[in-house]
Subunit: 437 residues, 2 copies
């Protein structure tokens, strides 16, 4: 906070922090500058209400994710359905740079099918909360540990990666959790996972659990956050601060209920914290195409308020904002739209507009008006903006009319007497008005 | 985490915490159980790209917000335009329970106009970051302090509430910030505000700044978080944990760029932490109508992934989830849809479905099948789900056909030979298939 951003962010932890939004120096285990993405659009995303991905669509999405640069792509369990198994095999054969994972229950039967598909790794999950132990699989912690060891040793014997995750971790008993993680870490699991399956966790709670777990295991920590209470991105960031290494994301965050950490939202968060790392690793300008691809496949609209790709994410409206943005975009922007292949937009056609924004439009139209004249025409625009919504054509018409008036001697005389009257053109279209004059 | 939620949340801070998602006992200044809402849909929300609220619409929204139970309603500056001033007066005359605020620049001229509108309080803001000081108003900290004192003393002399907020607080110099807050606190401001104007702050950073500020001022702390990097709700929660009292929200989070803390998302977060307080204070079942009112006024769709009111916020799809949800909804839900006047939905018409979900549908259809028979028909449903998206009619047709087959002696014989063949009805509608049989 004390160092005002110069953009010279330093992506390796250092005693002195040049970037005030970068890793907190007190988090010496922080992976904010060294995180990885596990994209689960083709697993968690398949659990989204609207999802039905054909094999061709899955392949198209997998290739686009790989091109974007995600580290891992997680696929639906091959046990879920026959086609799920075939799709898993097909995606493994694509030869992508991203590692391919599949996500299975903690059963040896599932693991046997999974390892035959050609995946680079298997993500095993089992419910550890009282709720899931009672109402889902009905097993106790000893049984869970026994199954976990059996499955992990089997998968390791096949020479591929293995992750063990609890489910509903934030409603599980802490001692039970640490016991099982310690056990699986000792037998050489590649990653342990924490899952906020119901979306109940809050950021500082996440920080504390990850930090504690970090002292218990020797392997990487992966985190999976649902967004039911709107904290998925904040939780993911705090998990990385505490030393987690991998975050599960989905394109547009699609998943069970209202989904998990969205790829674009996390990228917005991380580019602020670790700009060099994020820009060098991920093709950020591909986010929009990736989101459009998935949005079309699952038949949803990009939310109007989506970070980065929402239609107004880089639109500045209030006069005071527009003025400063015109002088220096950093005043009201922490994200540079160009990093994402997007553009900034100054919304000047409204009653909250200011004369600096209108002056900028006058210049764009290549018209010559003094500052006092711009202030006068701004008042006219605000008056009309009080009456009805404006568009750019409305504003341009008012500016052009005004410009003509002040630059035509005869019109000038008319204007002198007109100027006392309030602008009252509610029911007329700007073009109609122009024609009448 | 160690106490699995019984729902017996205790909304007053206590040495022993019954609710594991409730206030952290180490946050002795926490206002998680004692927060207030300042709704800014009619101020920040007016800065949303699509907003144009007529007087009638503003009044309708103000009444709906008041009915919902927000503590304050903040309105656009009366200086922004002539109609803005008139609307401010009109809303003050409604006699709402909520206190009415207006939001002005730190100018005595603005304050004079504001106090004449009949508002209960004035929210003053000034940019304190290097960026805003250089590119927006161009003033130094001494000038800011002088203006602040002048405006605050004027507003206080009129007997109404006054809040002083910095703008872009997280990019301001900490010492400058604490100095100005200390000054305004001493002269008796009602609230000080912290604003993450560009949406750069992260949760633990927010916690630290609020906790520090709490030691400097004697008044309430209000927080305003933009959502550019997806952390607005997480930041708001951490601010309350650190002792902030008031959070600025907008319906659907509408505001500059992609907006601020959304009302429904924050309610989702807070009902988990402080269920009694939230349920007793706010009419949660009105959220959907409130969102529809504003969404229609600004011509946007409710985002598909909105907390609470997104179309799939309470939809459970994967077989393993559906099974447990049917046994006990708390297994995969932290929010109870009924608290918000919403309903739970089990999505069983897809290839990820499981036999427990199908059994529940069989029961709903009042048909009698053994567990083995349900497993058999589930396989048929999953096979068709592999081929194309399913709807409920598809599944019902398959179940009814199957039920007829197993309960008709002649059909039973046919079924024996049929059962080996894979289901292949890709190009046929379920009704067509039924007619053919």
């Amino acid at each position: 906070m004390t160092n005002e951003g110069t953009g010279n962010a330093n992506d390796q932890p250092q005693p002195y922090q040049a970037n005030p939004y970068g890793p907190n120096p007190s988090d010496f285990l922080s992976n904010v500058n060294n995180f990885q993405l596990i994209d689960s659009t083709l697993r968690e995303g398949e659990q989204f209400a609207n999802s039905f991905f054909s094999t061709e669509k899955k392949i198209e999405i997998a290739k686009a994710l790989d091109d974007f640069g995600v580290d891992y792509i997680e696929l639906t369990s091959p046990v879920a359905s026959e086609q799920s198994r075939k799709d898993c095999e097909a995606i493994c054969k694509l030869g992508l740079k991203a590692k391919i994972l599949t996500h299975i229950r903690c059963h040896l039967d599932d693991a046997r099918v999974a390892v035959e598909t050609g995946v680079d790794g298997v993500d095993v999950v089992i419910g550890t909360s009282k709720f899931l132990r009672q109402y889902s699989h009905g097993k106790d912690m000893n049984y869970i540990a026994k199954s976990a060891i059996e499955v992990i040793e089997f998968v390791k014997s096949k020479g591929i990666e293995i992750r063990f995750s609890s489910e509903d971790s934030f409603r599980s008993d802490l001692v039970d959790l640490l016991n099982i993680y310690k056990t699986v870490s000792k037998i050489g699991v590649n990653r342990v996972g924490i899952a906020d399956t119901v979306g109940c966790a809050n950021p500082r709670q996440v920080y504390e659990l990850v930090r504690t777990l970090k002292t218990v295991v020797n392997c990487d920590i992966e985190c999976h956050f649902h967004n039911d209470t709107g904290c998925a991105i904040g939780n993911a960031y705090c998990a990385l601060e505490a030393g987690a290494r991998l975050i599960d994301v989905c394109v547009l965050g699609i998943g069970e209920r209202n989904g998990i950490v969205p790829l674009s939202g996390l990228m917005a968060r991380m580019i602020v914290a670790a700009p060099k790392y994020v820009k060098s690793k991920y093709k950020l300008h591909k986010i929009r195409d990736l989101e459009n691809l998935v949005a079309e496949a699952v038949e949803v609209n990009i939310p109007f308020n989506n970070p980065i790709t929402g239609f107004c994410a880089f639109t500045h409206k209030a006069g005071i904002h527009a003025k400063a943005i015109l002088a220096n975009p950093s005043t009201y922007e922490i994200l540079d739209p160009h990093d994402f292949g997007m553009k900034r937009y100054i919304h000047f056609a409204n009653r909250l507009t200011g004369w600096n924004a209108i002056k900028s439009r006058v210049d764009q139209l290549n018209l010559a008006l003094t500052d006092d004249q711009v202030k006068e025409v701004t008042t006219k625009i605000k008056n009309l903006g009080d009456v009805r919504p404006l568009n750019i054509d409305d504003v341009d018409s008012i500016i052009k009319d005004f410009h003509t008036t002040v630059n035509t001697p005869m019109m000038k005389a008319r204007r002198m007497s007109d100027s006392e009257e309030p602008l009252d053109i509610t029911t007329e279209q700007p073009n109609a008005k122009k024609a009448k004059k």
